[in-house]
């Protein structure tokens, strides 16, 4: 009996020590990261943008990233004059936080400065809104909202049934009839949008032209003919990879060609 108690105590002690070690070590790591990040910010403030980029890249090379890190890398590149790289990192930041005003503003500003401008015909209003919703959806939040609505809907279905009083039960059933079915409809549509968005994001890889001017070739060969030319900052859809040297890309789903991998910054 005594032996058993001693065993229990020793296991408990081990767990406590482990938790403390991990938390202290973790805290140290976080402190180190925080100070590095602040160092990057400070270099930026001192107009030492190249150094800031280097520090931020050190953070990027760890297993963890953040919206702020990508955003700040984008800003630093913009200051250096590398518009393509800036757009690439702002786009990365937008993936983590799709509806952030700062990153949206910076991207708009950068797009105005692009050499390649394609003015597309205005789509139907409903398609325009839907596209905007898709681009700005935060999948994490969306999942939580749908989950909450799902939970509420279940409650609305169950609630009247747990009342013994039949008159209250009837009143509740009548009162909740439309809201609960409306909620089901809303959840269904939200699920469709979520499915479409995740499907779009999983099946479409994009990249940004990071060189001043690149020639898009007819085939993955250096001496192949040039189909069209793209300038820094243009966004292309990556269709496939060839020989670890070439990307097959499409520009506005219209023009298709091959670009060397190092000339594209993958988002």
């Amino acid at each position: 009996m005594k032996y058993n108690n001693r065993k229990k105590y020793s296991i408990g002690l081990f767990v406590i020590i482990l938790i403390l070690t991990v938390s202290i070590f973790g805290k140290n790591l976080n402190d180190e990261r925080e100070s590095l990040f602040k160092n990057g910010v400070s270099k930026y403030s001192q107009n030492k943008y190249t150094e800031a980029v280097e520090i931020f890249h050190q953070l990027e090379n760890t297993d963890f990233v953040s919206f702020e890190l990508y955003y700040d890398i984008g800003n630093s590149y913009y200051r250096i004059g590398k518009l393509g790289k800036a757009i690439q990192y702002w786009e990365k930041a937008k993936i983590i936080k799709p509806s952030n005003d700062d990153v949206d503003f910076n991207l708009k500003l950068a797009n105005v400065k692009l050499q390649d401008r394609v003015v597309l015909p205005k789509p139907f209003l409903i398609f325009k809104y839907y596209k905007s919703i898709k681009q700005n959806i935060d999948i994490k939040k969306m999942l939580n909202y749908i989950g909450l609505l799902f939970f509420v809907t279940i409650l609305l279905f169950i609630l009247p049934k747990i009342f013994d009083n039949t008159s209250v039960k009837k009143r509740l059933l009548k009162f909740l009839f439309i809201p609960k079915y409306l909620l089901i409809l809303i959840i269904f549509f939200l699920f469709l949008i979520l499915f479409d968005t995740t499907n779009y994001k999983n099946n479409n890889d994009f990249g940004i032209v990071i060189e001043n001017k690149i020639k898009v070739k007819t085939e993955p060969k250096e001496d192949a003919d040039t189909i069209f030319i793209l300038h820094e900052g243009s966004k292309v859809k990556i269709l496939s990879k060839f020989d670890r040297k070439w990307y097959k890309v499409s520009y506005f789903d219209d023009k298709i060609g091959w670009i060397e991998i190092e000339k594209i910054g993958e988002i």
């Binding site: 990261r33 925080e34 990040f37 602040k38 910010v41 930026y44 403030s45 297993d63 963890f64 990233v65 953040s66 919206f67 702020e68 890190l69 955003y71 700040d72 800003n75 913009y78 983590i96 005003d101 700062d102 503003f105 910076n106 708009k108 500003l109 950068a110 105005v112 400065k113 401008r117 003015v119 935060d138 999948i139 994490k140 999942l143 939580n144 749908i146 989950g147 909450l148 799902f150 939970f151 809907t153 279940i154 409650l155 169950i158 049934k161 747990i162 995740t198 001017k213 020639k215 003919d225 040039t226 030319i229």
Partner: protein, 589 residues
């Protein structure tokens, strides 16, 4: 009216003075088994068509006709009437055959025509060699058709691979032509058909062959490119020609509108061509041009602002195979954006040669200011006169590009007001702290924490299902409800006891009774102490509790006979004891 009187007069004259004759003719005497022969029976000065039986024997059969026609002629005051019956006949076998004479009786008089000999051979092969075409020519000469024939005219019988070859089909005729149809050539083995054209308004010339003077005209041009080396044959071509009626000089023909044109098929013989291989020492810039050419190149502007378009025009003029070569794209400076060239060609056939020009227009957009040299423009062809490859070069083309001052203004034209305003703004400032760190490999879809509400919802459903099942089980077991609710009911009733001791005692004894009965699933009237003790002994409860139950039971039973004697204090004691017992019983599982 005058016309009617004239006709009546002529008919009357014919009837009174004419002497009827008949003769039979054929359009050809040498035929093959499949070729139809036109057999014409001409009745001269007959008042009407006589009755006759056309017996062709066993060697021929009628395949068409009779088509009948009549005409009148009046020459030098002599009037003749002609009636024709025309049949299409074919021979049934080859050999020297005879069309038998025609015998018939007309107005009591016998008429008989001569026999006609026909030489019938095997079927002729249309896609045969030149030997057959010689036969056809021979046959044509033997026939009356020698008055008209078509020859393929080609200046060369030996060409290089890829060199264009023009075949002109020339008509030789001694009769007047009303119309003609040209053949539609779809493919020729060993050749690529570049062009086939009907000569509009053919020029008629005179040419004497073997002492006979013919009118000649080129009707049809065929432009071919050999694709194989060796001896190739351009097969014979069939032309359909409509001749003017032979009796065209007769004024009655036009007068009575009786004239009919004759349609014949004329076959132009096959032509043999030798195709040679080009020498192997071709330069890299050679793209297949064979002939004799000249090159010119020019820029639409030699000075231009950046991001504006300029055109480089390259023209190849001369004679040769324009259809079969391209222009090698020069290697332009990387700062020059060059689009795929627009190609135009203007070629025609003249004097059995292909002449014209071919133009390539490259649109060039210089992106930056600078001095750009257009690389030498080279064009190589195989010169048929010099019998070697010749490279033409055009160099010294220079493009001066100046800064485009209006570029920003032009770009701003396409911007919205909001975008123009953005041009003067700066990016938003840095974010100073990292709020939420996220794994690089994080996927919201795969993170179970994002499904917590879903999990809660599903748990809620399960809880509800279990609750519903439990409730339905309870509702189907009233004894269980009694047993479970016994304490709550009893406690509630004890708390609501009246102040009067007698009534309160009676009630409290009933409450205790009922509680124990509910617990034992019995009716309160059927309950005895023995049953209670046995029940709880089986449950193996504390002996003290069992004693307490027995004591309390007996105490109540005794006082039932004299409830008036129960004091308030005793009642309170009983109440406390009962509640205590009930609580202890409730703890028993």
């Amino acid at each position: 009216m005058l016309k009617k009187i004239t006709i009546s007069l002529v008919l009357f004259t014919v009837i009174i003075f004419a002497k009827p004759t008949v003769n039979v003719t054929v359009d050809r005497k040498n035929v093959d088994l499949r070729t139809p022969i036109r057999l014409t029976i001409q009745f001269n000065d007959f008042k009407d068509y006589p009755k006759y039986n056309l017996d062709l024997g066993s060697d021929f059969q009628v395949v068409g006709g009779p088509s009948q026609s009549s005409n009148f002629s009046w020459v030098n005051g002599k009037t003749t009437s002609t009636k024709k019956a025309i049949y299409q006949i074919v021979a049934k076998r080859k050999g020297n055959l005879t069309i038998p004479s025609l015998d018939f009786k007309y107005k009591g008089k016998n008429y008989k025509t001569n026999q006609i000999n026909i030489q019938v051979s095997d079927r002729m092969h249309r896609n045969s060699s030149s030997a057959n075409s010689k036969n056809i020519r021979k046959q044509r000469k033997n026939n009356n058709n020698s008055q008209i024939f078509i020859e393929p005219i080609c200046k060369k019988t030996s060409v290089y691979l890829g060199e264009s070859l023009v075949i002109s089909y020339r008509l030789f005729t001694r009769v007047s032509i009303v119309n003609y149809n040209i053949p539609m050539v779809t493919s020729i083995s060993g050749f690529m058909i570049d062009k086939q054209e009907r000569v509009e308004n053919p020029k008629v010339k005179m040419q004497t062959i073997n002492g006979i003077e013919y009118k000649t005209a080129d009707l049809f041009n065929l432009v071919l490119t050999p694709t194989e080396i060796g001896k190739l044959e351009i097969p014979m071509q069939k032309f359909r020609i409509e001749l003017e009626n032979a009796g065209g000089g007769d004024p009655f023909d036009s007068f009575f509108n009786f004239s009919r044109n004759k349609v014949i098929n004329t076959i132009a013989p096959a032509k043999n061509i030798s195709v040679l291989r080009l020498p192997n020492d071709e330069p890299k810039t050679f793209t297949g041009a064979v002939g004799n050419f000249q090159l010119s190149a020019k820029l639409s502007d030699s000075e231009i602002e950046s991001n504006k378009a300029v055109t480089l025009q390259i023209i190849v003029v001369g004679e040769g195979n324009f259809k079969n070569f391209t222009f090698p794209k020069p290697k332009f400076h990387s700062q020059l954006q060059v689009f795929e060239p627009k190609m135009k060609e203007n070629i025609s056939v003249k004097n059995n040669k292909i002449v014209g020009n071919k133009t390539w227009e490259f649109v060039i957009i210089p992106e930056e200011k600078g001095h750009y040299k257009i690389p030498p423009i080279k064009f190589t062809y195989y010169d048929l006169r010099k019998k070697r490859y010749v490279t033409l070069t055009k160099s010294n083309l220079v493009l001066e590009v100046t800064q485009n001052k209006h570029l920003l203004e032009e770009r701003m034209k396409n911007m919205t007001r909001e975008e123009v305003e953005l041009l003067n703004k700066d990016i938003r400032y840095l974010h100073l702290n990292e709020e939420n760190l996220e794994s690089k490999y994080y996927s919201a879809i795969k993170d179970f924490r994002n499904y917590l509400f879903f999990i809660l919802g599903i748990i809620l459903i399960f809880v509800y299902i279990i609750y519903s099942l439990y409730m339905s089980y309870i509702l189907n077991n009233p004894l269980l409800i009694r047993r479970q609710k016994a304490f709550a009911v009893a406690e509630n009733e004890i708390n609501q006891l009246p102040d009067e001791t007698v009534i309160a005692f009676k009630k409290i004894s009933n409450i205790f009774n009922k509680y124990l009965a509910d617990k034992l699933n019995l009716q309160s009237g059927e309950l005895y102490l023995k049953e209670i003790t046995e029940y709880y002994q089986n449950k193996k409860i504390d002996e003290k509790l069992l004693e307490k139950i027995e004591l309390t039971w007996r105490n109540i039973e005794e006082k039932k006979f004299a409830p008036n004697l129960v004091s308030e204090k005793e009642l309170d004691n009983i109440k406390v004891q009962i509640i205590d017992i009930m609580k202890k019983i409730e703890k028993i599982k």
